[in-house]
Structures are given as structure tokens and as C-alpha cells.
């Protein structure tokens, strides 16, 4: 059933998140990592309202006692999978992992076979993106007909370079992966949006990484980004199911607030009640 927020956003001309050939009514992209169990993950994804989930590419574990594959728990007819290149520290390795991810998604016939979330990281401590290697990998993957969604820093200049290289979406980090610090530099996100959407207002910009709680999602959406990608904020919450619902509501609130246009900030108060017709004060001031 359609919620009040969905009706309102529709009336404001807000139909869908469009990235490359993909179209979603939910603007939340959710990761599948770090949940206590696959069952909890499946339920949290459903409550978040997402239609698009990220997945990692990893070696087959031959002697795992559990023996379960992510794909046993994930309804791939319901979600478009977005394979990532997490764990790669060079452009070469990211290109290899992107090809492997595409091959798996072709095998399971998921529509996500034509795209990749590109992550080329600098080191394991910060997990910060390596912008030079990310740009190099973007060029090569675009040549191989991938729709490339680039995880990057919030630097507006590299964001513009990635778009020029053919990225289907630029996804600046709010703060480091899994750090829960939210959007640390909203002004950089604002400039990213200005650069990337100049003469191209429909170009999708996603805040990826750093979300700690619902208000972080709202703040990102109020800045005017097209969507938010998060994982740890839900997976490691004390109650992942409650947080999944909170993230969904926060995203809708932020999007609706952005579309509705906030009031300017003022230094001084402006009265909400009429200033005329007030009774005479007992003592003149």
C-alpha cells in the first residue's frame, strides 16, 4: 500500500531513483554484510524497503560447517544485486573482481550483471578510497561496458573527474566506511552536487558509507543527493529490524524535506503568531 510520504513525493514529481539502466522507487541501497544471521539480514532488507542490495565477491569456502551461501537467504527475484569490488587495493584487482561479479550475476540471471560498485581502497586502516586508482579502474570498466558506480571521497574535483570518465553514478563517502560518523563535510557534498548536476540535474549522486543512524540519512537526503547506500548502520544496530524501519522513514523524510524546500536560516526569531491584536500589557515595558 502506498504511504502518505510516497503519495506526497509523487505529487512533487518524484518518481524514482534512476541509475544507468536501473530504476527503483526506493532511494535506499542496503548492504548484505555483517548481519548476525542470514535470516536477520533478509528481514532487515525487507523492512528497509530497498530494492537494490550490494554484495561482495569472495572465494568459495569448501569446508564451511554452516555450508550456506548468501544466495540461499537472498531472494534474487526481489532485489537487483549490486556487486562490489571491496577488498581491492589496485585498479587491476578491482577490474578482475568486477568481471567475476558480472559472471556470477549472469549465472543467476540477475539484472545487476551490467553494473558494479567500484571500490579501490588505499589501505586497510582507513579504508579510504584511492582516487587515482579509482579513476583508472573506472576508465577500464567503462571500456568494458560496465555501468560503474564509484565509491569515492567527498572531494568535488575527483567526483567531477569520475563523471567525466563515464561513471554512471558518483558515490561520495559521508565519512569512513563503518565509522558511523555521518556526513562529516556537508559543504563538500553540496559542491559535489553542484559540479555533478550542473547542466545534468538527473545525474545520480549517492552518499555511500559512514551512516550511523537515521538522522545521518535525512541530512544526506536534505542536501539533495539522490540516494543513500548503507550497511553497518543497520547490520550492527542493537535492533537491526528497528533500525531498518528507521532508515526507511528517515530517507523518505529527508527526500520530502529536500523537495519541499526548507526555510532559510536566520539569526533572529520571527514570530509564528500574529503580532497585531495582542491585549494591552498590564505594565508598559
Amino acid at each position: 500500500m502506498e504511504t502518505a510520504v510516497q503519495r506526497s513525493t509523487k505529487s512533487l514529481g518524484d518518481e524514482a531513483l534512476v541509475i544507468g539502466h536501473h530504476r527503483f522507487t526506493s532511494r535506499l541501497i542496503v548492504g548484505t554484510g555483517k548481519y548476525a544471521s542470514y535470516a536477520l539480514m533478509a528481514e532487515a532488507l525487507a523492512l528497509s524497503g530497498t530494492q537494490c542490495v550490494t554484495v561482495a565477491v569472495r572465494r568459495e569456502r569448501l569446508f564451511d560447517s554452516e555450508g550456506r551461501n548468501l544466495l540461499d537467504a537472498l531472494d534474487t527475484s526481489r532485489y537487483t544485486l549490486l556487486p562490489n569490488t571491496a577488498g581491492c587495493f589496485t585498479a587491476d584487482d578491482a577490474v578482475r573482481v568486477a568481471r567475476l561479479g558480472r559472471e556470477i550475476l549472469l549465472g543467476i540471471e540477475n539484472p545487476g550483471a551490467d553494473w558494479v560498485k567500484l571500490e579501490v581502497l588505499a589501505d586497510k586502516k582507513t579504508l579510504l578510497p584511492d582516487p587515482v586508482a579509482t579513476l583508472e579502474a573506472t576508465r577500464r570498466l567503462v571500456d568494458e561496458k560496465f555501468q560503474v558506480l564509484c565509491y569515492t571521497t567527498d572531494d568535488p574535483v575527483i567526483a567531477r573527474r569520475l563523471k567525466e570518465a563515464g561513471a554512471a553514478s558518483v558515490m561520495p563517502a559521508g565519512s569512513p566506511i563503518g565509522s558511523g560518523q555521518g556526513v562529516l563535510n556537508p559543504n563538500n557534498i553540496r559542491i559535489c552536487l553542484e559540479y555533478l548536476k550542473e547542466d545534468d540535474p538527473d545525474y545520480p549522486v549517492i552518499v555511500d558509507a559512514g551512516v550511523g543512524t537515521a538522522s545521518d540519512v535525512t541530512i544526506a537526503m536534505e542536501l539533495g543527493v539522490d540516494g543513500v547506500l548503507l550497511n553497518t548502520g543497520i547490520a550492527h544496530a542493537a535492533d537491526p529490524l528497528g533500525m531498518a524501519r528507521a532508515m526507511k522513514a528517515a530517507l523518505e523524510a529527508g527526500r520530502l524535506a529536500y523537495l519541499s524546500g526548507r526555510i532559510p536560516r536566520r539569526l533572529y526569531a520571527t514570530a509564528s503568531s500574529p503580532e497585531e491584536g495582542v491585549i494591552t500589557p498590564a505594565k508598559p515595558r
Binding site: 555483517k34 572465494r59 548468501l70 578482475r96 559472471e103 556470477i104
Partner: protein
């Protein structure tokens, strides 16, 4: 060595970073089957090059081949 012995000759390959003995003449498809790996959910890279699923049956493993066999896992 007689040809009848060569049939069961084994070679060593690298499977996901670990050395592994396989019977000479084993194809990628046969190896996956013997390890009970679901080929539709996996992808195979041989010596840094992707081997598309359709080619698994044709490629015979050779001594020293480096194989990566991957699937999907939870991730962000």
C-alpha cells in the same frame, strides 16, 4: 612411464591460493563438479583471466595453473 599409468597421473594446481592435486586431464567443469560447487552461482578465473561458464568444459587444467573460484558473500 607407460601410457596406462599416465591416465591416473596427478598434477598440482593452485586452487584459491592453496596447492591441490587433481587428476591429469581434469577440466574446470569436472573439478567444480567433484567439489560440489554450484557453477551457476560461481565464477572462475584462471591465471588472472576470467573463464566464462560456457568454456569450463573445454579447458583442461595444467600443472601450475592458478585458479580462483568465487561466489557472492555479504558485503556493503
Amino acid at each position: 612411464m607407460k601410457s596406462s599409468q599416465r591416465v591416473t597421473e596427478s598434477i598440482e594446481i593452485w586452487f584459491n591460493g592453496e596447492p591441490r592435486k587433481v587428476v591429469a586431464g581434469t577440466t574446470i567443469a569436472l573439478l567444480l563438479e567433484s567439489l560440489a560447487i554450484n557453477a551457476t552461482r560461481s565464477a572462475v578465473e584462471l591465471n588472472l583471466q576470467l573463464v566464462p561458464r560456457a568454456a569450463h568444459g573445454a579447458r583442461t587444467l595444467e600443472s601450475g595453473d592458478r585458479l580462483e573460484v568465487v561466489t557472492l558473500a555479504g558485503g556493503g
